[in-house]
């Protein structure tokens, strides 16, 4: 029996495991604060030959001779969940569902080039709505996801609908569309020119437009270039769609447009994006709008957590969080902890001992008999003291008799 786990899987030792939990928790909290509810789906799925990642799925035989597959992607599983529990949305009703997920996925691939076969995915889907504000919301969350782990985000945004519109205008035969879109996505003008020469759209203007698409990347000015390059109404509509999303985005300066983005042309229907960070050569997340692919209206993205963590390795280590309060009063401590304040229980029973502990841990306050005392006599922490005291006061007013002492409104 080999001592190593199967190819493309690994053991995770305590430090790395703690880091992973921490990052997943931070992302979950971020999505929760934007109104995204956590859902869970089975890791074992019924094998489906039409699954978008069918070729990459691990198959297992079930005891009744059915075939199962290990989850290879959350999005199709969430689409199933929508069909089972929100049939109206699955049938096209416009009612927003904001869902987030986190868990393991498995890809049956050759574990080459720094790719593992088992990894953690966190992500979200905004289902049942399709408009510019929804797209912009997803883009905001993609950017915030990168910021949450302390990295500087740079978003690459495109709209494969633009390339699709041009291929339609050009009348590219079905058998050539994917190869042409792939050449555009790789900005391989040689390949593109050779292919166009081989089957000939017979329309010089369209050929010229297709050859210009690989260079339509950069800042917001790209939209104007695209309008000049592709004057056909179908193409203009797709440019307008992208412009509409950018108009709903709070700050477009961290965005880089690329109208040559054209991967999975038959899956993504609207805005698509990837996030990068300086000095890291691989995308941190990717996603987009896929109306009609699995559900009538849906957009989302997913993050490979291990890669995201790898990108944070160059960051200076985060300082160990210092406790804010050393507590001698347990009920009051519970109130502060419930509000997210880091409160450490004093190991000494007396005030002087607690003060010493606070100094040793750089905690600014001691909590005793329902009151906070500043350790620093100069009162540098007055603002924080006022906020935390108000929390304690609020709890006393909201829960009469909960604290000992003389009742809810003892002090004038």
């Amino acid at each position: 029996m080999s001592r190593t786990p199967p190819d493309g899987t690994r053991y995770v030792l305590p430090d790395a495991a703690a880091r992973r939990i921490e990052v997943v928790a931070a992302l979950r909290a971020l999505y929760g604060s934007w109104g995204y509810d956590l859902v869970e789906v089975p890791a074992l799925e019924r094998y489906d030959p039409a699954h978008p990642r069918e070729a990459q799925s691990f198959k297992l035989s079930d005891r009744d001779s059915g075939v199962l597959a290990l989850r290879s992607d959350f999005t199709p599983a969430l689409a199933q969940l929508v069909r089972a529990h929100h049939p109206a949305v699955a049938a096209g009703a416009r009612r927003p569902l904001r869902w987030q997920y986190a868990g393991t996925v498995w890809h049956a691939i050759d574990p080459e080039l720094a790719r593992t076969r088992e990894f953690t995915q966190v992500g979200l889907e905004l289902i049942g709505v399709s408009n510019a504000r929804a797209d912009a919301e997803i883009l905001h969350l993609a950017r915030e996801s990168v910021r949450t782990v302390g990295l500087r985000p740079r978003l690459e945004v495109g709209n494969p609908g633009f390339v699709r519109a041009l291929l339609d205008v050009a009348g590219v035969p079905d058998g050539q569309r994917d190869a042409l879109a792939d050449a555009i996505d790789r900005k391989d003008r040689r390949d593109l020119a050779d292919r166009l020469a081989s089957f000939g759209t017979g329309r010089e203007g369209v050929d010229r437009a297709l050859l210009a698409v690989p260079d339509l990347y950069g800042g917001i000015e790209v939209l104007d270039h695209a309008r000049q390059v592709a004057p056909w109404p179908a193409a203009q509509r797709e440019i307008d769609r992208l412009a509409g999303v950018l108009a709903e985005f709070e700050d477009a300066s961290e965005l880089m447009l690329d109208l040559a983005m054209a991967r999975r042309l038959s899956y993504y229907t609207g805005v698509t994006f990837r996030a990068y960070t300086p000095d890291f050569g691989q995308p941190l997340l990717g996603g987009g709008r896929y109306d009609g692919a699995l559900l009538p209206a849906a957009a989302g993205f997913s993050i490979g957590v291990e890669r995201l963590i790898q990108a944070t390795r160059a960051l200076p280590p985060a300082p160990e969080p210092t406790p804010r309060v050393i507590a001698l009063d347990d009920p009051a401590a519970r109130v502060l902890r419930a509000a997210g304040v880091r409160v450490v229980r004093a190991l000494h029973a007396d005030l002087e001992g607690a003060r010493d502990e606070a100094r040793a841990r750089s905690a600014p306050f001691v909590l005793v008999d329902g009151r906070l005392l500043s350790v620093d006599a100069a009162g540098a922490d007055a603002a924080e003291l006022a906020v935390l005291s108000a929390l304690l006061e609020g709890a006393r007013e909201g829960a009469p008799g909960a604290s000992d002492g003389d009742g809810p409104r003892g002090d004038p």
Binding site: E156, K187, P214, G281
Partner: protein, 207 residues
Amino acid sequence: MSRVPRLVLALPKGRVMEQSLEVLRAAGLRLETGTGARALRYDAGDAVVIEMRNADVPTYVELGVADAGVVGKDVLLESGSRLVEPVDLGFAACRLSLIRPRGATGTIQRVASKYPRLTADYLRRVGSGAEVVKLSGNVELACVTGLADAVVDVVQTGATLAANDLEEVDVLLRSSARFVVNRAALKLKHETLRPLIEALRGLPGSF
């Protein structure tokens, strides 16, 4: 150029290295040649140059250790890496061909190649059930010694083939040197890369 983030370039050893440096200079980069000391990674002025075997260039660029590089289209396709390849530099032109002993006509049973992936794709495409043997060195030898009854290899002038009484029976693809770019770098070092790409495209022989 001092405030712009500096490029890291992956270049293959040998003659292509010289030609690559030449076109990059022509495109406006100030690049010194390595000092002759066998430094694998050196500061060449406007870019840091890493020197490697050509088959490793796609890996370095795909993983972002290098921002960009120069590699033959044949090697790039064999690697399976998806890189941005905005410029065909035109030099190092060659064909990747199926080669057999002159006059051979029987069914091909075994094909030797340094390009096992492209060879297998080709055999599938033409409906051949031949097996593929991966070799690293002088592939023609496989034909001459009877290890394989055909080989897939690069043909530049055809002189080696003639000398060994071999002939080119089919062309799999035409290759030339490509300027390849990491997708993240293209977006993160846009100010440096975009003008460089445009300048490279403007050189004679490039597309």
